[in-house]
Amino acid sequence: MASEMEWNRRSFIKGAAVLGTIPLIRGGSMAQGEQDHSQVPSGTVPKKPLGRTGVQVSAMGVGGYHLGSAKTDQAANEIVAKALDHGVDFFDNAWEYHDGLSEERLGKALKGKRDRAFVMTKVCTHGRDKKVAMRMLEESLRRLQTDHLDLWQIHEVVYDNDPDLIFAPNGAAEALVEAKKQGKVRFIGFTGHKDPGIHLKMLSHDFPFDTVQMPLNCCDATFRSFENQVLPEAARRGIAALGMKSLGGSGELVRHGVVTAEQGLRYAMSLPVATTISGIDSMEVLDQNLKVAVNFETLDAKAMQSLRDQCRVLAADGRNELFKMTTKYDGKVGREQHHFPTTKELPL
């Protein structure tokens, strides 16, 4: 996923105080050079219902990709432990993240704590059949050191023909049903970052998904919008919505000065979603997120609209959501399966 020219979005946010351009949402602007040393408030991250499942999950979740980017296993353990202590129980992952390292890390971090966590991972068949999916499931369970997943989702539905391949006879959709029947997964869903139209195509198959994951942020609201086109459809079907890319995937919304990290996360978490998954690769970033998420209160409609309006002009060509207009976020495995050029050959 990383390209040579990619910033680590969080190192920008760490440096934000130095640049002096980004006011924090609480307590007014920081003087240049100051760090915010205020503590994470005591309290917990609220829970929200996971659609019709009867289960509740934390309103903020820990992203699996960036957990694999944390400096050490120890750092990852500490992030997970502190997240759990503040009531964060939703953990995202995927079979293909960092060639399995992300899942292995989460497995180690949750040892002895598995029952406190809601563990989700994704299957990365990218058009291949049920057998491949079931094999990947076994590998995920082994790496995560568990005998079951709380949620198993089909990863990265981003090519126009992905729905056809997934729902073909013997396709990945059948694997989801079988895994549920075998008791290896509690709930099932799918994810994607490219185009609301592709999500709607998936939903139109009337398949019993429990969840659907998509990018949700204040620029998405006015550009090829998952919020406008997919959220209502998911709600209509009683499918839980999981938000991701609240800051653009690599912090683009913040880096480009469109919103602060706090505004971005707060907007996303205020949408009608079960959880907002956020990439966290250091304690600093976890703390920054927890300051928003602990005792979280949603923004009112007026504040939400104000943020949409603030973002509208810069959202219009998709510059802050590179996952929609470019191939930057399209993973290696999907490219291979769809006979697309590699990331090196086609970075954008």
Partner: protein, 332 residues
């Protein structure tokens, strides 16, 4: 290679106008891949002799090199051709577009263009930016009024919806350029969504990327170059623009064009069907799904990142070095 000229390239009507253009057009970008200016000039001479009248170019191709080379090749032959180039404001002001026109005329060594098009309409807000007060629409209108260009149009390779939005602005385009090939027919299709509208309005349809940009589908053996070109040329278009970077490629294309017989509807259907499985994810139409064909000007104007795979970016690298010699791209 013996020159087999058994026929002449058909001439086709340019939309509603009285002008006629060759059914095969000479693409400007690939000319920049010729080894040197001398070869490029020879290729252009041979193309004109072979019956190609439609010449395509663009202000931002290869940082001006292709317009310079084509200008050199067309010297003394200007009246034989229908010369088009594009302007590249990418949402910025009319004054910039007009400045680019002056630079294009200078490089092409001519005082007028037959066709001037607004380049690369690919972003969701490009139509809005085009038609706004002080937008490129005003430049197109002015250039036409001042007699510097005969006709005006726009181009884009990414999204039929953007083309439709451009048409919806109501601006009186004479031409519209878009990718047309047997894969496009079944994937986010310009052929299905835009071409009928152009035919209805009498706007000249200019097809490009008959070989999908870099011939990937031909290399994979799904389709032959001849089939691909014949398919595109058989559509209801004024011309099919194809890239030519060597004398060998030119001769192959001239062969096909001079002996051109349109494909039947049945043949075209059969080809679409054959390409349909590979069309489904757009693997041979990377220009619809990525930034690859968006030049630095377009990206910067829209706040998108550059990447070093893109030819104009490679062209830029090294020009910051003060070597004491005139900049020679061959160094890099």
């Amino acid at each position: 290679m013996p020159q087999v000229s058994t026929g002449t390239i058909p001439l086709k009507k340019f939309g509603r106008s009285d002008a006629k253009v060759s059914a095969l057009g000479f693409g400007g970008h690939h000319l920049g891949d010729a080894p040197d200016e001398k070869t490029a000039v020879e290729i252009v001479h041979r193309a004109v002799d072979g019956g190609i009248t439609f010449f395509d170019n663009c202000w931002e191709y290869r940082r001006g090199k292709t317009e310079i080379w084509m200008g050199a090749g067309l010297k003394g032959r200007r009246d034989k051709v229908f010369l088009m180039t594009k302007t590249c404001p990418h949402g910025r002001d009319a004054s910039l577009a007009l400045q680019m026109l002056e630079e294009s005329l200078q490089r092409l060594q001519t005082d007028h263009l037959d066709l001037w098009q607004c380049h690369g309409m690919v972003f969701d807000n490009d139509a809005e930016l085009f038609i706004r007060p002080n937008g490129a629409a005003e430049a197109l209108a002015k250039a036409k009024k001042d007699g510097k260009v005969r006709f005006v149009g726009f181009t884009g390779h990414q999204n039929p919806k953007v083309h439709l939005a451009m048409l919806k602005t109501g601006f009186p385009f004479d031409s519209v350029q878009m990718p047309l090939n047997a894969f496009d027919a079944n994937f986010r299709s310009f052929e299905q969504q835009v071409l009928p509208e152009l035919n209805k309005r009498g706007i000249a349809a200019l097809g490009m990327k008959p070989l999908n940009g870099h011939g990937e589908a031909i290399k994979s053996g799904v389709i032959s170059a001849e089939e691909a070109l014949r398919y595109a040329m058989s559509l209801p278009v004024a011309t099919t623009i194809t890239g030519i970077d060597s004398m060998e490629v030119l001769e192959q294309n001239l062969q096909i064009a001079q002996n051109f017989t349109p494909m039947s509807e049945a043949e075209m259907n059969a080809l679409r069907e054959r390409c349909k499985p590979d069309a489904a994810d757009g693997r041979y139409e990377v220009y619809k799904l990525s930034m690859r064909f968006n030049n630095p000007e377009a990206r910067i104007a829209h706040g998108f990142p550059l990447d070093t795979q893109q030819s104009e970016v490679k062209d830029m690298l090294g020009s910051e070095l003060n070597t004491g010699h005139p900049f020679n791209e061959k160094q890099f």
